[in-house]
């Protein structure tokens, strides 16, 4: 019996591994720096907004004797709040786009999540005397999703339907499993609908439907954020118009099953 000794030069492998590690460290560092930058931008924008919103609120409280002055303070306060929503939405969008906050998908039934959002929005629905029909079916609608992000999309779409419905109008929230195994959610309203040429562009940042642009109070970023979130879930969001008026927003997510052995990559 003999002994075979094998020598091999592995310095090249070591070098490759070092290079890989260095590249990964650099990528992490870049992502950290961007994240820090966004946090700083947020800080810089919020500090002046503190003065704008704070002093205008004080002004409103103290200008009770003078209606005209009070109105001016209210206008400043409203504009400041709008700017704050814009700052928040922009930060949110950039966080999603640069994947600073990766999605944390969980296997979950979409129905209880949707009902939570409905309950949250109930006061707005009642204030406008709307009728919301919820049809989520008796079967679990299992998807792999990041719960707060999925709720953000549902909230956004439902809040739009509430905002644009005529007073006393009907909204339909439907959830189902389609024959291809995808989970589908539809939110349908009887609002003004969306001009056909704009059905796609409303998902771009800062584009709002010309039918509802005036007085919508939105930032024009909500649907862009929704689309990024849905893409991050390998899902889709799109809009269509309804026969008889109004629009429908559709969400589609790959269906999952409790106990799936192969976790989908997200």
């Amino acid at each position: 019996m003999g002994i075979v000794v094998c020598f091999m030069d592995i310095s090249e492998f070591c070098e490759a591994e070092r290079a890989t590690r260095a590249a990964r460290d650099a990528a992490l560092e870049t992502s950290r720096a961007k994240s820090e930058f966004i946090a700083n931008v947020s800080h810089e924008l919020r500090t002046p907004l503190q003065s704008i919103l704070g002093f205008s609120e004080l002004g409103q409280m103290r200008a009770r004797q003078d209606a005209r002055l009070g109105e001016m303070f209210s206008d400043i306060h409203r504009a400041g709040q709008r700017m704050l929503s814009l700052v928040n939405d922009l930060l949110d969008l950039s966080k999603i786009e640069q994947s600073h906050e990766p999605l944390h998908p969980e296997r979950l039934d979409l129905r209880p999540l949707a009902l939570e959002v409905v309950n949250e929005l109930r006061p707005l629905i009642e204030a406008r005397r709307l009728h919301l029909a919820v049809r989520l079916g008796g079967e679990q609608l299992v998807v792999l999703a990041d719960p707060p992000r999925l709720q953000q999309v549902l909230r956004n779409v439902l809040a739009n339907a509430i905002k644009f419905s005529p007073e006393g109008g009907e909204i339909l929230l439907r959830g189902r499993l389609d024959p291809e195994g995808s989970v589908r959610v539809e939110v349908a309203d009887r609002g003004p609908g969306i001009p056909a040429a704009e059905l796609e562009s409303i998902f771009e940042a800062f584009v709002q439907s010309s039918a509802t642009k005036d007085g919508s109070g939105g930032t024009g970023l909500g649907l862009a954020i929704c689309r990024r979130i849905m893409q991050g879930h390998d899902g889709r969001i799109w809009a269509s118009n309804r026969d008889g008026g109004g629009s429908t927003f559709h969400l589609s997510l790959p269906g999952a099953r409790f106990g799936d052995t192969s976790p989908a990559s997200l």
Partner: protein, 123 residues
């Protein structure tokens, strides 16, 4: 009268807080950075500190908070952190430093009055 110390580098925000509280019964003191804030905390012995987190200089708000909460003589002082960074990570840092409350800028003056009232009532 309860004493409130404002530690905040932005003069207009110090003014906003002072004006917010001017009809309430508080004795108000101001400091413009962390080191001055710490020094004044010992000199003034406030019941409550409104403490900005991000300030230029040697000590940021978190460090001031930690130092005071670690001193048995000062640990009872209520501390409200004021910050423009409201992410989960930032809140955790505030909790770790021992803050009693965390207000994210822009906060509403009414919200500030409520928070201070709540924290000083049992102090």
């Amino acid at each position: 009268m309860k004493r409130v110390l404002i530690v905040e580098d932005q003069a207009d925000i110090r003014k906003l807080i002072r004006m917010t509280l001017e009809f309430e019964a508080y004795e108000i003191h101001e400091a413009a950075d962390g080191s001055e804030g710490l020094r004044m905390a010992y000199a003034v012995r406030p019941d409550l500190l409104l403490l900005d987190v991000m300030m230029p200089g040697e000590l940021d708000g978190l460090q001031v908070c930690q130092t005071l909460k670690a001193d048995p003589e000062m640990a009872h002082v209520k501390i409200v952190l004021l910050t423009a960074r409201g992410q989960v990570r930032d809140r955790q840092a505030g909790n770790l430093a021992g803050a009693d409350e965390y207000l994210v800028k822009p906060f509403s003056p009414l919200q500030l009055i409520d928070t201070i009232g709540r924290l000083t009532v049992d102090a």
